[in-house]
Amino acid sequence: MASAADLHSELFLNALTQVSSRFIGSLGTIIVKCKDLRVIQLDIPGMEECLNIASSIEALSTLDSVSLMYPFFYRPLFEVIEDGWQLFVPEEAFKDLESMTDEWRLSEVNKDFSVCPSYPSLLTVPKDIDDESLCKAASFRHGGRFPVLSYYHKKNGMVMMRAAQPLTGTNGRRCKEDEKLINATLCAGKRGYIIDTRTIAVAQQAKARGGGFEQEANYPQWRRIHKAIERSNVLQESLIKLVEACNDQSHSMDRWLSKLEASNWQSHVKEILTTACLAAQCIDREGASVLVHGTEGTDSTLQVTSLAQIILDPACRTIRGFEALIEREWLQAGHPFQQRCAQSAYSNGKPRSEAPVFLLFLDCVWQILRQFPCSFQFNENFLIMLFEHTYASQFGTFLGNSVGERVKLQLSQKTVSLWSWVNRPQEMERFLNPLYEPNNLVIWPSVAPQSLLLWEGVFLRWNRSTKCLDEAYQEMVHIIEYNKELQNKVNSLRRQLAQLETEDNPLQTP
């Protein structure tokens, strides 16, 4: 079976999302649509053979059980030098925090994932709040996701926290512990911002289902700002429409633009980036702490908190830092990767929980990268690689929906971590940005529609030839490397000369 897929190139069966077959005479054609948005056509003579292959592919690409998936059978052909599963543990991140402030502590309240199933076992919370209060605050937040630290801004000591919506319901429930918890993050006399990623209307509606938002009366030290980041099913629709538009080569200019517009993808990018910039602005410019949440706190919330960190924190723009950010703000923070990234754009049915939340985040990072091409240690390939591996991978990193699930699946024992592979120097080379020059500044991207572009590297990847662009990129790399080489040469020659001159001098003076 695997040999059929080998025809073109190596394709992982879990990378396929839709298989269809048709016949002309006895020549069968199988169309395979992949999660990385590629479409492949296989011509197979013989009706029976073709049908067999199609049904095998179908069966193998729609496995129900996680433990039957490829990562569990994959054995690396490389030596694991640095185990990616051990790279980013919360204790290490907390050590960094401790060196800057003593206002926070690491709580084990969620040790057995019972307080909040989607949170990791260790959480950073204000020092003065005990575990009992945390439990009470958890019962007041959707899915038990009480406010926890997301980011500490070293420059001015302001923090960004994230949570899920408060369960105020229609009768305006309140929770003293929750109020106390988030107030504990404010300096005396200071106030903070709550960024609710939903519109006020959506937030109001949530009350009917037991959700809601922080009432001004109960949170007088906070100002609430509502933004309009869309929810999962809308985003999935958007992706499907966008990919459809990109794949249709027959479009006239007007039709292309109107389809691009109708997909709304670019609007989502703009809205998410704008909200992230706003959060960063509150922290860095206003000197105020921020709490971010939407409904569940596992999607738009994470988009905002992680992008804000890329804007604010130069460490997140390095490869290691970016991996740590994904690990911290997405994997450990409980973004349900397995539910969100099951089918990609070609899904047959409409799985309710499928949504390109993480892809949108990567798109936003790409937009910032485009605007600050010298500020990132990684290049576009790195982001595309991450996109591929969230949907289909031989590595276990993006399996499961939470830390709890991953522990149950014993992923760290049974599968290989993506980071173990990526961080090998041989692989890393492809992902390094030759233009990178570290800068410690906050980088403010432009969110004007004219400044935001379609991410061609993903969406037009299989529809256009990039030969000319790739060659130009190589030429640029060559210029940069030649420059380094020349500088080294000049320096070594100078040293040589200086040495000769000092050796020479005593001889010249009688």
Partner: protein, 649 residues
């Protein structure tokens, strides 16, 4: 100057405490406004970042006095290079003086008033002359291999008697006698008979251009038919020639009622007639207007942006021109057929298609010098009406149209698809666009060669090409590869709709907050320059070492060394380095010096924090938290420019 209304009768009019509002955010800066004979200058009073804005009067397309506000009298100025400035002048009286002075200044009534006639770059007559001699069209035709056994130079238009809007020197088939030429010219609109514009030597195929025939519903002209026959016969590779009418069929049909029209295939033997469907100057003008209107909207949403882009039709028109040029290039290079291109008068769409088609076929036109030659040939010499289209003299608004801008944009779209094919970067295109409207140099003045000769431009003004060549290093494409031209002599761009993008650097050139804060182009260009210097340093050091008797391996240059040393950075104020105000150029030079010093000691780090352009949250407009709340307790509404902006507390 007598046109400047001033209270004290000085040559410069100065207004203090003028506010300059940012186009897209609520930001503003205060400074002084100077009105001189040639420029409107705004100098920011802030000491540290004092920016200067120089606006040439010729660049101003419109001045508008808006209704009085509490802070003063607003003046909105829109420029032809897509700069939009919004001043607020404290006193109504001052505002009115500036307004009426500008109105007079930006409507010159005679050519003598244009900047080119007073602009003096401190060159002597010889240098001026050399500048004008840089481009030699006779040499260009020679380069193409013309005259040859099938094509010759005709002197029929030496005195501009046959066609006023054509150049003196024209190339026609050997077999086209004078009576045929004259006869054909009488059958063509404005006398613009078929002449050679590009010769594809490899296949001996010709690209010819003309205007529409005066065929009406049934008229024919034997000389004109002979003329086309002669063009066809001069190419032995193909039995037919293409006649490309670049207009939509409907427009051509409508022209028949006015006694004009298109070639009837029955009357002309062996022609293949083809409509292309590029819209006329009026549609293009409207389209650009719509585009600019949308792009100028504050807090533009993504939906409005994309819908506006679509409704303006701008990219559709760009694609239509590109499609036509590709058709032309394929006919010539693949089929080896000669092509005759025309539209109505043969100086707008025809110029676009011939020039762009030639650029696709011939790598020479993708070099800096070659591109100048191309513009000189297909646009200037063949009589694209720059004065009318670019609104140089007190104009007829119906004649204004961004035809040349579209051509530049098509070239830009190509540079996006083929980053290594062009010797120049987009700044070269933008700079040319700037000067087409600046009237600072003589090249684009007037509507035809004849008019330019009458104006004695070569004696009285300077050539843009010499100026641009002197700043060549600013316009180089660092990843240009001459070997690309060898492997891709003919460019075959894709015209899938998604390849056409909005040209932000052109239409938002002056809206700095919209651009990437770090420019790859600038960065790599600097590195390339530094590579050249370092190569020199290595050589010098080696020579020194040799004196000590140390032998060194010769440096293997990875890029061929340059023959010429490069001239210093430009000093011109407004039209200097792309995107940079004078201040920044200075700053950049300083930075380079620092880099140089650092390199001597510590090769790895170039030291210092890099400045990131426009590095401020407020410049970007995702929401200015108008009021920061420290100890203030009163409830307030915080407006955020983007998104849901209200919150009460």
């Amino acid at each position: 100057m007598e046109h400047i209304r001033t209270p004290k009768c000085v040559s410069k009019y100065v207004v203090e405490q003028v506010k300059l509002l940012d186009r897209f955010s609520n930001k503003s800066v205060t400074g002084t406004l100077h009105l001189t004979a040639t420029h409107l200058i705004f100098v920011e009073s802030n000491s540290t970042s004092a920016q200067e804005i120089w606006i040439l009067h010729h660049h101003i397309a419109s001045v508008e006095k808006l209704s009085l506000t509490t802070s003063g009298c607003p003046l909105l100025i829109q420029c032809r290079n897509f700069r939009v400035v919004h001043f607020v002048i404290p006193r109504e009286r001052d505002c009115h003086d500036i307004y009426s002075s500008l109105l007079r200044l930006l409507r010159p009534v005679s050519y003598d008033e244009l900047y080119a006639f007073s602009y003096n770059p401190k060159q002597n007559d010889q240098q001026r002359e050399e500048g004008w001699q840089l481009i030699d069209l006779a040499a260009e035709f020679e380069r193409m291999g013309v005259p040859c056994d099938q094509w010759q130079l005709t002197d029929v238009n030496r005195e501009y008697k046959v066609c006023e809007t054509y150049p003196r020197d024209l190339y026609v088939p050997i077999t086209a006698s004078k009576p045929i030429i004259v006869g054909s010219s009488k059958f063509r609109s404005k006398g613009r008979f078929p002449v050679l514009t590009y010769f594809y030597q490899e296949k001996k195929a010709a690209v010819c251009r003309c205007s529409q025939p005066l065929s009406g519903f049934s008229a024919r002209c034997l000389e004109d038919e002979h003329m086309l026959q002669a063009i066809s016969k001069s190419n032995h590779n193909s039995r037919y020639i293409y006649v490309m009418d670049t207009r939509p069929k409907l427009n051509a049909l409508a022209n028949r009622a006015a006694g004009k029209g298109y070639e009837n295939e029955d009357n002309y033997s062996n022609i293949r007639f083809q409509f292309v469907g590029i819209e006329n100057i009026h549609v293009m003008r409207g389209s650009l207007q719509k585009l600019l209107e949308v792009m100028g909207t504050r807090s533009l949403s993504m939906t409005d942006y994309l819908v506006g882009l679509e409704n303006s039709g701008w990219l559709r028109h760009i694609k239509a021109i590109m499609d036509a040029a590709i058709f032309l290039a394929r006919a010539v290079t693949v089929e080896g057929a000669s092509v005759l291109v025309h539209c109505s008068d043969g100086w707008d769409r025809t110029a676009q298609v011939c020039a762009l088609g030639s650029l696709l076929m011939d790598p020479y036109y993708r070099t800096i010098k070659g591109f100048m030659v191309l513009i000189e040939k297909d646009w200037i010499s063949f009589g694209h009406k720059f004065a009318d289209r670019c609104d140089q003299l007190d104009p007829d608004p119906k004649e204004v149209s961004p035809i040349f801008t579209q051509f530049l944009e098509c070239v830009w779209q190509l540079t996006e698809q083929f980053p290594q094919a062009f010797e120049f970067s987009e700044w070269f295109l933008i700079q040319i666009h700037e000067h087409v409207h600046s009237c600072q140099f003589g090249n684009f003045l007037g509507n035809s060669q004849r008019q330019r000769e009458d104006l004695q431009l070569k004696e009285r003004t300077y050539s843009l090409w010499a100026h641009l060549l002197s700043e060549k290093q600013n316009y180089l494409n660092p990843v240009y590869s001459p070997s690309f031209a060898e492997s891709h002599p003919v460019l075959e761009p894709s015209t899938q709709a998604y390849h056409f993008k909005f040209w932000r650097n052109m239409y938002h050139q002056y809206d700095r907050s919209m651009h990437p804060r770090q420019s790859i182009l600038k960065h790599v260009l600097t590195l390339k320059e530094s590579n050249r210097e370092l190569e020199g340093t290595v050589q010098a050091l080696k020579t020194k070492l040799q004196k000590f008797g140390v032998s060194t391996s010769p440096l293997k240059p990875q890029t061929p060394p340059r023959e010429r040393s490069l001239p210093p950075r430009p000093q011109s104020l407004i039209l200097g380095a792309p995107l940079l105000s004078r201040k920044e150029v200075q700053q950049e030079e300083d930075e380079e010096v620092i880099g140089e010093e650092a390199r001597e000691d510590a090769p790895a780090s170039t030291g210092g924090e890099r400045t990131v352009e426009g590095n401020s949250a407020t410049e970007n407009g995702y929401g200015e938290l108008k009021e920061s709340f420290g100890s203030k307790n009163e409830p307030s509404v915080v407006t955020l420019e983007f998104g849901v902006a209200r919150m009460t507390c």
